[in-house]
Each structure stands twice: as C-alpha cells, then as structure tokens.
Symmetry: C2
Subunit: 227 residues, 2 copies
Amino acid sequence: MTTTIPTPSAVVLVSGGMDSAVTLALARERGYACHALSVDYGQRHGAELDAAARTAAALGALVHKTVAVDLRSIGGSALTADIAVPEAGGPGIPVTYVPARNTIMLAIALGWAEVLGAHDVFCGVNAVDYSGYPDCRPAFIAAFERLANLATRAGVEGSGIRVHAPLIALGKADIVREGLRLGVDFAATVSCYQADAQGRACGRCDACRLRAEGFRAAAVGDPTRYA
Amino acid sequence: MTTTIPTPSAVVLVSGGMDSAVTLALARERGYACHALSVDYGQRHGAELDAAARTAAALGALVHKTVAVDLRSIGGSALTADIAVPEAGGPGIPVTYVPARNTIMLAIALGWAEVLGAHDVFCGVNAVDYSGYPDCRPAFIAAFERLANLATRAGVEGSGIRVHAPLIALGKADIVREGLRLGVDFAATVSCYQADAQGRACGRCDACRLRAEGFRAAAVGDPTRYA
C-alpha cells in the first residue's frame, strides 16, 4: 500500500535580497511547497523584483507571484519618495524605513495563505545585523502571528496560522553560512537600496554595508555585483 | 495672549458604505483633522469608491486618498474573483469574505498615519449586525492596535498608536441613528456588494439585507437607491 504524505504549503515573502533567499531555501528544506510572494510597493528600482523571480525559480518555489500596492502614494521613506538614500548609518530609525512595510507585506502574505489553505508564512526579517526598523523585531513577529490567528478563517475555524522568521536571531555571517550550505546563489540576489537597472549594487548604502560585512565575517568571497 | 490648540490628525478608513461614513462623522465630532483613506483592492465595482470620495468631502475630511492593492491577483472571495455573490445569508464565514482584507487596509492606514505623524486610526468595523467576518471582531482590533505599537516608529519612540472602532458594539439601527444625528447623507453611501455603475443597490445581497434591516429597526425611511 502506498500512502501519499501531503506536502504542506507555505507562503514565503521574497524581496530579491539575500535574507529572504535563505529563508526560502530553509522553508524548502523543511519540506514546504513554497508559494513565493513579492510585493511591488513602488520601491526605487525593479532590479530586486527581477532578482526575486530568479531566486524563487532557482530555489524551487512552486510559483512566484508579485502583488502591487502603491505605497508611493503615501510616501514617507527614502525607498518610496524623493528622499536621498543615506550612505552612512546613524542612530535611530533611518529614512529608508518604509512606514508599516512589513505589516502590509505580511498582511498580503496572510491573505494569500488563506486563499491557498496554507497555515505557514515565512519572512526573512532579522534583528541582529539590521537597519533598526521596528517591524523586524521578534515581538513584532509574535504580535503579527497572534493577529493572524484572530484575523482569519483559519483562526476562527481552529487550524491556526504560524509566522516563521527563521533568520531573526542570526547574524549576517550565519545567514551567509546557512545560504552557502543550502546552495543559495548570492550573486543572483540584490540587497542594495539603490541598485542600478542591471541589479548592480552601490556598495555604499546601509544594506550594502551590512551585506558586505556578512561575507567578510563569514570569511567567504563576496559575490555581489557592484556598479 | 492667544494659544493655538493643535488639532490632532487621524486616518479614517472610508469604504463608501454607511458604517465608515458614520465613523468619519464621529471622528470629526471628536475634533480630529481627518485624512480619509480608501483602498482599491479590486472590488467588483467602482461605485463604492466614488461614494467614498463624495462622503469624505461631504463630511469634512481634510483630504481623501485612494491606495491601490491588487487583491484580485490572490483571489479567493466573491468580491475579488469570479465567484457569485450569494443572495441569502448562511452559517459560517461567507464567500464575500476577502482574505485578510481588514488587516491589509489597517496596515496601509497605519503606514499613512506614520507618514503624517498621526497617532489615531479609525475604522468602521462592526461585530453586531455583520456578515460574520473574523476581522471585524473586538479581539482583532485590539490585536491590531498592539501590533501597530510594535510595528512603527511611534511604537518605538513612545507616542503610541490608537485604533478606534467606534461602531464595533452598535447594532445597525443605532448606527443609522448616530448617522442621522451627525448629518450623514445615507443616500450618498453604497453598501451593496454588487451595486451597478450608478451605485444603485441590488437589494438582495447580505450587505443590502443588513442595511435595510437597520433603517427598518430605526423606524426611519430607507434612502437607499435600489436598481
């Protein structure tokens, strides 16, 4: 007798950057059929969305979907309005913070999970080597999971929603090592806040700085394509 | 000496329906400078967005903004996919439920509030005479407020976010009475799930049924324009 073990489905947020690529690889390793989701929120360049599509395909996502939400119409960030991207970190929450971005992206992921009947949502947020955004902290993810279980059919009908942030407590060097172990092609990922149309990084913004430090700390070559 | 008392700003979600119109009128009565927000999520008809714009202007919102998010691309609801709108209520969560809709709309409202420096978000959800959607319940609103205070700059920097749902415990007749007291022109609002291009209601769907019962229970004439 053959018993088919059903593969659980998950929605995985993929931005095109390195963290979400490693998150997708981890979700695949854990046996999920992965529905990769990118959110086109009017970010400064389309190169990261192209990278998201390539990464999703390379890492074995079942499907990749991009949902548009026009956050440019509310503005308020260097990533969605005409505010310059700073080239050095500083104290406090930086101007590259996009108001409520992770809340919005997780909410859309939650909606898709409901449609699919999936009970698992993955995102690549990280609270160690990060830019100080409030919506990357463990307490935020826990509060979103609690909300998700009140907001949805799955919450009412009892099967539950889990929000996974497997990188949240890892340093950038550990993320690099996990990615290399899982076969992530980091050269195909784009982390830079102001990459050019070919996806080449500036090498100067906060995202580039954190990423380069990760490769250095992991003592591996940095495969990033710089402009 | 003249002291100017600053007017606090609020973001108010307006759908074009009666509940959010009354919510906006209440927020105005409480002294807020109201930034009305509609979310174009690919709903079946544009008449409710037209009604939202008219209502926002009539009730003294400072500005009205519509933000697009393409929920049609995830589907899963009679309001965003090719599923017929049912004309009789039934047990359980109906097919008109849009997965994670209120989570997504509140998240966008939260983002705009952050950009504005506003600490108050209003929405017209109601858990008495409603369609049984999970994301209309008091526990959902409380969980969203908690999330909002972890997700945002205001949460980190201490000034706090409040999520108001002033109609949540009111019956439809009470909402009608509040609206009449505040001068809401209900004829200009559209609640129907399948209104025609002129905003005329079908008179048969769950939203029409709840609305008509409200006017009947309040013992006032029903000003709804039916097709």
